[in-house]
Amino acid sequence: MGDKQAGAIEKVQARAVAVHVAEDSTLAARPKMRRRLKVAHPERCIGCLGCMFACSRIRSGTVSLDSSAIKVRTQGGIEGDYRVVVCRACRDPPCARACPTGALEKKAGGMVVFHKDLCTGCGSCEKACLVGAIALGKEKMPIKCIHCGSCVEFCPHGVLEIEEIALEGE
């Protein structure tokens, strides 16, 4: 990841709201944490797609459904229930394991970062993710959730939350 992109992501993360912080966050012995987006209440979804627009707008500066890393799917049209698909921030991420070029790299601590310059657009990551949380966008590059939480504040029903989980090895 280029420095510029990493900086942008940090900035987005810093701005994000609705962080559910563990109660003992003030204790000095608190382990290092990372943020994870969570579908806390999928049954409350009203299908407004506000999260998807927020993801595209805030992460990639465009008005689009296809550049959103979060997907709200219908099951049997709007008569059925909505399914909200987000990256689960896996401990042993299949997307990174499947990536033949190292473009998706698991960092120490568990985060997966994306190196655009290494990506060949092969789509192995998309095939590897059982929940369908990572997919190639129009430019044949994977659109990956960075767990920034920008979508959370554009969910009017509290479907989404950001939680903090311990870094691996902590």
Binding site: G61, V63, S64, D66, G77
Partner: protein, 578 residues
């Protein structure tokens, strides 16, 4: 943003795209562009159910880009009134059109056999629909979902048997639960052998200044979600007004014989919410979630076997199929709404046609021979459900007449003084006073949403208003809604889109407009619509006001012919039509 119109000719099985930058620059989008395309495509005197009659779907610059800009305008020649057909629907259609890259679609011609149109980005296909002709509107959606791409971002709009049969007030169902309801677009689809239209797209929109866009977006989003301006729609929904109107004596009951319903508390929005509401959802791009879905659970055996239907409800269907038909239970109303959904009928027209027929039977203008033994009596839910089916099947002259609307049926069988139509369109659920009557009469589509006369009446009840001011309010509202419906935002979001917010949101997508520009656009759009209406024979001075309006007390007391006539005179003068 490229401003493109997609043309589809069903007769020649062809489609093509034209860039119409100037059209969109002058007329914005939505209803503004819709009326201009109708003028281009629909020569004077065109039979609305002929291949030559066009169907125009159009969105505007804010659709898909800003919150609560979720509507698509349909413009056509109405087979119900014989002049302007104009209807709006939410759901996912505007979003699907935006990302498919078509701001307007013009459909003409007639397919040789039942067909549906499939639009995926630039690709347009006309496909065989023979095997689903006759299938109800909901099931049609279920079938096409398996065939068409774009899960989660597409829109499938379709007609039921009513549209196929040419019922003049057949609707087009949009993504289930939403509709192009009024003025008979469903019949126009049917006349073209067009069962459905599926749209999906993968395009995106680039805004000129992302910072400015985000700032305006956040402001509008906050106004919609974190202020009280849309609270009503978020909570109980539009049906909250049943209690309010009933209390005000403005809730039309039993074909306007009464203006309050003694059993009204049984069918109040609060009852629906507490007893039947199971979920709410949104049109794509709207954080409010005003679509209220009820579960209707009915036993079909004595062994605890149930069928469960999920039915959407709102104020207007509860009026038209409820109080207006003397139906005293929420369950009965939901059953009738569900029947209309499956057949693909406009609920408002259907209810008002049935209430006229009930009274006509009571007054012996028609007899059992006409109704084929169906008991058309207040609160007879089963009878009404049968009659809805018979309207579509039209097994005799009487039901065929009902299928042409209350205006037509009353001209044939009598009872015009209580055939509750204005400008040929069955009226909405407000007996609030003179502004509601005049508003629906002068409105370009004869809908309560043209200029919200019912709201002006309610203002005037609180603080007396002279007739001239009322007329001025009607004109102001009518013009400003022309702009609103060109964006195309949801009318429930009027509180979010103040004039300043409209100007800012347009600016954020690179369209610079001043207050004066918008004002003149609203006026121009209205005048163009009237040009079309007059060309097709509409004459405001000859328009019929059913006598019933003057016989039943309204929320503003008794309404007199004189007051309504005076308002119409003032109206004509102010519009410059004297």
């Amino acid at each position: 943003m490229l401003r493109k119109v997609l043309y589809i000719d069903l007769t020649r099985q062809e489609s093509w795209i034209e860039e119409r930058q100037e059209l969109f620059e002058s007329w914005m989008g939505g209803t503004g562009v819709g009326i201009r395309l109708l003028q281009e495509e629909c020569p004077p005197g065109t039979d609305p159910l002929s291949p030559e009659a066009p169907i125009i779907l159009s969105i505007g610059p804010l659709n898909g880009v800003f919150p609560v800009a979720t509507k698509t305008a349909a413009t056509f020649k109405s087979p119900l009134t014989g002049n302007l057909g104009e209807s709006y629907a939410g759901g996912r259609l505007s979003l699907a059109l935006r990302f498919a890259g078509h701001e307007a679609v013009v459909i003409k011609g007639r397919a040789e056999r039942p067909s549906y149109i499939s639009i995926n980005d630039q690709e347009v296909r006309i496909k065989d629909a023979t095997s689903i002709w006759g299938v109800d509107a909901q099931t049609t959606g279920i079938i096409l979902r398996d065939r068409e791409p774009g899960v989660g971002r597409r829109s499938i709009i379709r007609i039921g048997p009513a549209g196929e049969a040419g019922v003049r007030f057949a609707c087009v169902m949009v993504d289930t639960y939403r509709h192009f309801g009024r003025l008979g677009l469903g019949a126009v689809f049917g006349s073209k052998n067009l069962k459905a239209l599926a749209v999906s797209g993968t395009e995106h929109v680039d805004v000129p200044d992302i910072k400015r866009y985000k700032a305006v977006y956040n402001r509008l989003y906050r106004a919609a979600v974190h202020t009280e301006v849309m609270e009503k729609y978020h909570d109980i929904g539009t049906s909250v007004n049943i209690s309010v109107l009933n209390w005000l004596r403005g809730l039309p009951t039993k074909n306007f014989l009464l203006s309050s319903f003694p059993e009204g508390e049984n069918i109040a929005g609060e009852v629906f919410a507490e007893k039947h509401l199971i979920r709410r959802f949104s049109c794509a791009g709207c954080p409010i979630g005003c679509v209220h879905i009820a579960a209707l659970k009915t036993a079909f055996s004595e062994h605890h076997e149930f069928e469960v239907r999920r039915v959407s409800y709102d104020y207007e269907p509860i009026y038209s199929l409820g109080s207006n038909l003397g139906v005293k239970t929420a369950e009965g109303i939901l059953q009738l709404i569900d029947a209309c959904e499956r057949l693909g009928l406009d609920v408002m027209s259907a209810g008002v046609v049935l209430s006229w027929a009930t009274e006509a039977l009571e007054k012996k203008l028609i007899a059992e021979k006409e109704t084929m033994g169906v008991p058309l009596q207040w609160n007879e839910v089963e009878g009404y459900a049968k009659a809805l089916n018979l309207m579509v099947r039209a097994p005799n002259e009487f039901y065929a007449s009902l299928a042409r609307g209350a205006e037509y049926a009353a001209a044939k069988y009598g009872g015009q003084e209580y055939a509750m139509t204005l400008g040929g369109n069955e009226v909405s659920g407000y007996h609030t006073g003179p502004a509601s009557i005049v508003g629906q009469l002068v409105g370009s589509r004869h809908s309560h949403l043209d200029n919200a006369g019912y709201g002006i009446d309610q203002k005037a009840i609180k603080k007396p208003m002279d007739l001239e001011t009322m007329v001025e309010e009607i004109i102001k509202e009518d013009n400003s809604r022309g702009v609103f419906n060109s964006l195309v935002a949801c009318l429930f979001a009027r509180g979010v889109y103040s004039e300043d917010n409209i100007i800012d949101s347009l600016g954020a997508v690179g369209i610079e407009k001043s207050k004066d520009d918008l004002e003149s656009l609203g006026e121009r759009i209205f005048q163009e619509k009237y040009k079309f209406k007059v060309q097709e024979g509409f004459d405001l001075s000859a328009a019929r006001v059913p006598r019933r309006f003057y016989e039943t007390v309204s929320a503003s007391g008794m309404v007199t012919v004189e007051r309504v006539q005076e308002m119409l005179d003032i109206y004509r003068k102010k519009r410059g039509w004297s």
